[in-house]
């Protein structure tokens, strides 16, 4: 695309500091080097050759959740998140990526299922050191072990991958009016770890009258790889997905992060690239599950058993990056027999922020504590959300802060739905 965000856009920052009012990281440690304004200045200086792109600089770039909250108050409309990503890319191109990162990216691209199996195995095996990095365990993956051990009730971690549980084609549920055909993109988390969510999403779509195709040959959406700055590998992942998904009019994902990536494919390919046109068309077909469902009939939704009060957490990748915040609330409001209570600052990042939670565990936990305080005040029995990253973080939070709340993907609200849905034209 002609006007892809570059490090040069950092020049548009006029240093007013409004970003400080919204940055969850700054509002926790009050350090100027962790806020967009200061990072934009550093990026500018490195771009101009006034300072080296050294380890300290790399560290400074990592202190961002990529949540985009700063951009909601920026009077100069500086795209600070994408500027940071462009800076990470420049760094990666200069060799800022570690050998391990490169190998993992390559493995995801070429042998995704095998990698997931190894990862799953490493979580189960006692005493494995694979998850330790300089004495700091990778918190969230380690927590998967607890899920496996049955210490955390939901979501069920299944031994079998989605590919073994979901047919290529799911017909519209009997008794529904056929409404069309969709492709489902589960993404790595719902493909390998929380496969129950993948099944819930497909079942909800089918009960709304859609034929759901689960195309073979999908790979990782590429977002996590893109965000490290390794755009080349990320684009190759996008190419693979474009190949198997481009023939559909609607592509639905239940993962906020994958949705962000798929919708951004149109920006991942430059104007001259042979796939730029295809990517542009494809991105228009992508919708988040909640975004899609909010436009359908929402009759007949009833509360999941045992959940009379729930609250909602906005994933940054859904609200900040895709601008989807009304749709999930519309769905929540349509559920009979369930009280939906907004938490304070539902839109504030939970602290996971992709690799942020792994790189900066203390800051991440401080943000998580704030989030759990907000949850506690609602008295909810469940936090509804639609991002596996947030889900892991919030599960961890519930455990650490002794809250008995379940973390629930929004598709679960469709599980008790009567068929055909109330208000169906056949009724």
């Amino acid at each position: 695309m002609a006007d892809r965000i570059s490090v040069g856009d950092a020049n548009r920052c006029m240093k007013c500091g409004f970003c400080m009012s919204k940055c969850p990281v700054y509002r926790t440690d009050y350090m100027e080097s962790h806020v967009a304004r200061s990072r934009n200045i550093l990026i500018r200086e490195v771009a101009e050759g006034k300072r080296p792109p050294d380890a300290e600089y790399q560290e400074a770039l990592s202190w961002c959740l990529l949540c985009k909250r700063c951009e909601t108050v920026c009077p100069a409309r500086v795209p600070s998140t994408d500027i940071n990503l462009a800076a990470r890319t420049a760094l990666a191109e200069k060799g800022g990526l570690s050998l391990v990162q490169k190998i993992i990216h390559h493995l995801i691209l070429k042998h995704r299922s095998a990698l997931a199996r190894i990862l799953g195995l490493s979580v189960i095996l006692p005493g494995t050191r694979l998850l330790d990095r300089g004495g700091k365990p990778l918190r969230h993956l380690a927590d998967l072990a607890l899920v496996l051990a049955g210490k955390v009730a939901f979501p069920k971690f299944t031994a079998s991958f989605l590919a073994n549980r979901l047919p290529h084609r799911t017909q519209p549920a009997p008794g529904t009016t056929q409404r069309g055909r969709l492709a489902f993109f589960p993404g790595c988390n719902y493909e390998f770890f929380f496969t129950g969510v993948g099944l819930d999403v497909v079942s909800a779509l089918s009960r709304s009258g859609f034929e759901v195709i689960y195309p073979e040959g999908q790979t990782c959406c590429g977002l996590a790889v893109f965000n490290t700055g390794d755009q080349d590998t990320a684009r190759r992942m996008a190419e693979t997905n474009l190949k198997v998904l481009s023939s559909f009019d609607h592509v639905i994902t239940g993962c906020a992060s994958c949705g962000t990536a798929l919708k951004a494919y149109k920006e991942w390919f430059d104007e001259g690239h042979p796939l730029s046109g295809q990517a542009r068309q494809f991105s228009e077909t992508v919708q988040d599950f909640s975004e899609f469902m909010a436009r359908q009939d929402l009759g007949g939704l009833t509360a999941p058993e045992g959940f009379s009060t729930v609250t909602y957490h906005d994933p940054c990748h859904l609200r900040g990056h895709q601008g989807v915040s009304e749709a999930p609330r519309k769905i929540l409001g349509a559920v009979q027999g369930m009280n939906f209570v907004e938490m304070d600052m539902a839109e504030k990042c939970c602290g996971q922020g992709g690799s942020f939670g792994i790189k900066h565990p203390e800051a991440s936990l401080a943000l998580l504590a704030q989030k759990m305080e907000s949850v506690k005040r609602t008295g909810a029995q469940a936090i509804v959300t639609s991002c596996p990253g947030c889900t892991l973080q919030l599960m961890d939070g519930a455990k650490r802060h002794g809250l008995s709340v379940e973390i629930m993907h929004i598709s679960r609200l469709f599980k008790n739905r009567t068929i055909p849905p109330a208000g169906d034209e056949n009724k």
């Binding site: 007013c16 500091g17 350090m31 100027e32 200045i41 300290e56 009077p75 409309r77």
Partner: protein, 460 residues
């Protein structure tokens, strides 16, 4: 160059390891404020959390002759918190507790690092109101606002920061802790030292908490928009309204160039054909707000407004004010370098000043745009230029010299609300007499005999 190890060690003992930053990226992050071109690295950044810690840091600084510059959020637009002599950058952002909201006596005591917007939200929850509204309120700290005697659009009706300052805790450069002023509306007990420290741009003492006066929240407010065929006629209208027996909360002026740029960035439905727009806000009881709005509309018509009407609804009112807030970024976003000034003239001379600025722009072949708090005579004429273009930049600087000269000629001031800091040091001797400057220096040395606190500011 970093400070001697022994000093750093002592600083760490005072505030703890978490309260000290020395990495290059961190020092860089505290080398600037919201001005365009000033930058200078501190040698260490220190985050105290108590008045006692501030006192210990100041004692150490005095003993070791280390310069100290205090910084809140760094939203200053005159260079005040830039550590041009290095040394200790004392950052107040972690002293951020609201200590006591006293609903019975309409006061609040807050620590210096509380963000103005956070204070406003806490007060709103209690039905209380703190009027001064510098446009950096989303990030600016109370300490910074007091030090700069900050203000914003609502100064027309409600005045500036100092009008709400009752007392403070301040630390002298030698570490002495002072409890100054009190919590009463009236207080004549010796020299009013809180008022002296307010507006001293962080050069006399380190403020650690303040006692502020509050008001009840106004019941309602109304926004009125008026357009004019020239900036001059808008300036005349401001005068007519101020002398017409009505006191709006805010009277803001935006010229055509800025309107166009704002609308390009965020389409808000602004009247793009107007040469100048005046935005009014009125607040108070519903019936008086309605009456005052009608008066403003009538006075604007008489003063030759092309179009004048109240905002259709709350949403439109919000859009108008959002446009006003976006004004500065619209200017900065469309020019490599901007010399944004902050002059103030008596309200009767606004129209003359506007004419004069137009002349200056013509004379130096420059674009000078105007936005500002016209209601109190405080305008921000902004000269669009480019630091990289030597000839252009030197013409821009000459234009600024002339703008200052004109403001002074009309009985005005070279800074209404931003402060002198580094930006306007060289103009100080044109604005006030050498005797007055000598007295300022005496006051400074009474507070800070060793000259370690925020050195290099206000005068050259």
């Amino acid at each position: 160059m970093s400070l001697p190890k022994a000093i750093l060690k002592k600083i760490e003992t005072i505030v703890g390891r978490d309260g000290v930053l020395t990495s290059e990226t961190d020092l860089e992050s505290y080398s600037f404020d919201a001005t365009s071109n000033w930058q200078s690295l501190p040698q260490v950044v220190v985050f105290p959390t108590t008045t006692d810690q501030v006192s210990a840091i100041m004692r150490l600084a005095t003993e070791s002759q280390t310069p100290v510059t205090v910084r809140g959020a760094g939203t200053c637009v005159s260079g005040g918190p830039i550590p041009i002599y290095g040394g200790i950058l004392l950052c107040t952002t972690r002293m951020n507790r609201i200590l006591d909201i006293d609903k019975n006596n309409f006061t609040v005591r807050v620590e210096t690092g509380v963000v103005l917007n956070d204070l406003n939200q806490a007060l709103a929850a209690n039905g209380l109101f703190f009027p001064p509204d510098p446009q950096s309120f989303l990030a600016a700290t109370i300490g910074g606002c007091v030090s700069e005697n900050a203000s914003g659009p609502s100064a027309v009706k409600y005045g500036v920061f100092r009008h709400y300052l009752l007392g403070m805790t301040a630390v002298l450069p030698n570490g002495t802790i002072l409890n100054l002023g009190g919590r009463t509306m009236k207080n004549v007990t010796g020299y009013d030292l809180p008022q002296l420290i307010c507006g001293s741009e962080g050069t006399l003492a380190v403020v650690t908490d303040v006692m502020l006066r509050l008001l009840s929240r106004p019941e309602t407010s109304k926004t009125v928009l008026a357009t004019f065929a020239s900036v001059r006629s808008a300036g005349e209208a401001v005068h007519a309204i101020r002398t017409g027996g009505v006191v709006p909360t805010k009277i803001e002026l935006i010229d055509n160039w800025i309107l166009q740029r704002i609308e390009e960035r965020m389409p808000l439905g602004l009247p793009l054909s107007a040469e100048a727009v005046l935005l009014f806000e009125l607040d108070g009881a519903p019936d008086s707000v309605d009456r005052e709005a009608a008066q403003v509309i009538e006075l604007c018509r008489k003063a030759g407004a092309e179009l004048v009407r109240p905002a259709r609804d709350e949403k439109e009112a919000q859009n108008f004010w959002m446009a006003r807030r976006a004004g500065f970024s619209a200017i900065f976003g469309n020019s490599p370098t901007v010399l944004a000034e902050d002059i103030t003239v008596p309200v009767s001379r606004i129209a003359d000043l506007v004419d004069r600025i137009k002349d200056i722009a013509r004379e130096y072949e420059l674009t000078i745009v105007i936005i500002g708090h016209a209601g109190d005579g405080n305008l921000h004429p902004s000269v669009l230029t480019d630091l990289a273009d030597g000839d252009h930049y030197s013409r821009a600087q000459k234009a600024v010299d002339d703008i200052f000269k004109s403001a002074l000629e009309y009985g005005g001031a070279i800074s209404g609300e931003h402060g002198i800091g580094l930006e306007k040091r060289k103009y100080l001797k044109d604005a006030i007499s050498s005797e007055e400057i000598a007295l300022l220096k005496l006051v400074k040395s009474a507070f800070d005999p060793k000259g370690i606190l925020n050195p290099g500011k206000i005068w050259e």
